[in-house]
């Protein structure tokens, strides 16, 4: 564990918790830093939708296969078990674990061997979980688990940042806002991917870069772009694809590895 990196991460995280706080971008930073700090291959954050399922709101990589793998745990997997029990759930070797056959098969195919899920707990309520994937088998380091849990706790607090924590209504408002922001971002990713002929994870990077450069919330930019009130420009030299209605097939972009 790199103590310097850890304190820098918390400075970076608290820096973003200012006015105009962008919860999706914050959670994206948090999952990215989790990967570096905890020496894991991928991290994802799932929140419980009051309708009754876990949904991915942020991940260290926007690779479609990785997002799917996190989302799969709405059916079965360590994240779901962690969410239900409110306790950390880990597996040191998915290949030898029989608890989640569908999840283990999909995770194995994506190249992951060990998984750790840490609860996001607020008082007596579990609102989601932080999910860590590692490519090599083996138990997770105890210290890393502690830091991971601290990051999960920070993620929980961030959801309540905008308003007072005393109101019982606040949490549900914030959860729904985060989940809906994520939907807007997916819509914007699709629109930009189609416009520039790129894949959706590249589109996410472009959206996020522009939002950061213009000091704008990612979800606000995504909404304005989808509504057609704000342009998003790709890096110079980005090829433009066929306009709507033309019949040239588009090249299928390579799927980035998770």
């Amino acid at each position: 564990m790199n103590g310097h990196l850890l304190s820098e991460t918390f400075v970076e995280l608290t820096d973003t918790m200012v006015a105009d706080f962008d919860v999706i971008d914050f959670l994206h930073v948090l999952t990215s830093r989790s990967v570096e700090l905890l020496d894991v291959s991928a991290a994802g954050l799932l929140l419980a939708d009051p309708r009754g399922e876990l949904r991915v709101v942020a991940a260290s990589s926007e690779a479609a296969r990785l997002l799917e793998l996190f989302q799969l745990q709405s059916d079965q997997g360590p994240c779901l078990d962690c969410f239900r029990s409110g306790q950390p759930v880990a597996t040191a070797d998915l290949g030898a674990d029989e608890r989640w056959p569908r999840f283990a098969a999909a995770a194995g195919q994506a190249g992951f061997r060990a998984v750790q899920a840490l609860p996001m707990r607020l008082r007596d309520q579990v609102i989601g979980a932080l999910n860590l994937f590692r490519a090599t088998a083996g138990a997770f380091d105890a210290e890393a688990v502690h830091v991971g849990q601290a990051l999960a706790d920070v993620a929980t607090i961030s959801l309540l940042h905008d308003r007072s924590m005393r109101r019982s209504d606040t949490l549900n408002e914030q959860l729904q806002a985060a989940l809906n922001s994520r939907v807007v971002i997916e819509q914007a990713k699709g629109k930009l991917a189609e416009r520039l002929g790129i894949d959706v994870s590249q589109a996410f990077t472009i959206l996020r870069t522009q939002a950061r450069n213009h000091n704008q919330r990612l979800s606000d930019l995504a909404r304005a772009f989808v509504d057609g009130t704000q342009a998003v420009t790709g890096p110079a030299g980005m090829p433009r694809t066929s306009r709507p209605g033309t019949k040239q097939p588009l090249p299928v972009p390579p799927r980035p590895a998770p």
């Binding site: 408002e173 819509q187 930009l192 509504d227």
Partner: protein, 273 residues
Amino acid sequence: MALGSPVLAWFRGRLAAPAVRVRDARRLGRVWGLVAEHAAARGGRVSAADACAAVVPGVRVTGAWLSAARDGQAGHLMQVTDEVSRQLAELQLTLGEGPLFDASASGGLALASDLAGLETGSRWPAFAPAACRAGAAAVFAFPLAVGAIRAGVLGLYRDRPGPLSDSQLGDALVFADTATMLLLDAQDGAGAGTGPGEGPGGQPAGLASYRAEIDQATGMLTEQLGVSITDAFVRLRAYAYVNDLQLAEVARDIVARRLRLFPDPDLSPDGGT
């Protein structure tokens, strides 16, 4: 519950192309059952107004109202279940503030379980006391939204303060999703809502869990078809419905660029699947 078979068939037909994102089939079944019962009782086709009326007993609130919007334009009041609901809806228009404004602006919920409380008072200084005078003690507003798609807002009120329970909140969200779907279908004659009949045969209930591809595909279709996000979603669902496909499958093919849709209202398959 006794459901007329045309009504049941109507709902079955929608399972393949749900706007409703829920895994809990029992919850969805219960909510849709209540909505359908309401439509059957008045002898009409199922509409968003039925979702508004059915939510009142469904989540044990005193009253509800529903206003429809299209592409960000100001909504019109479609349904009120009682006089207090009408006053609450009108108050917000007059005062220019309130939970419905917040819900439609943010696309998130606006929940005020105690209108007389200090925080609610500072959030809506004009609306909160006026709503109390009108007879409401708690107001809950649900945006009828899917990301940037906004179909309207569903408002609920109670004459006693107190939050919705977790399960009432979950049910209310499913009522709101159902109203969203019904409003979107009603907006487009070519949409998935053009008439009851047998749903796609042999479809397992398409209660697939949330899929990012559906949102991504909707975004891609705005470019392919040159339409708004709302119309893109209507076209996506109509395509799945007409071609007897799961919405998630169609979305996946669009995102993988195995399928393109074209601006003409051509709902036949135009690419591989």
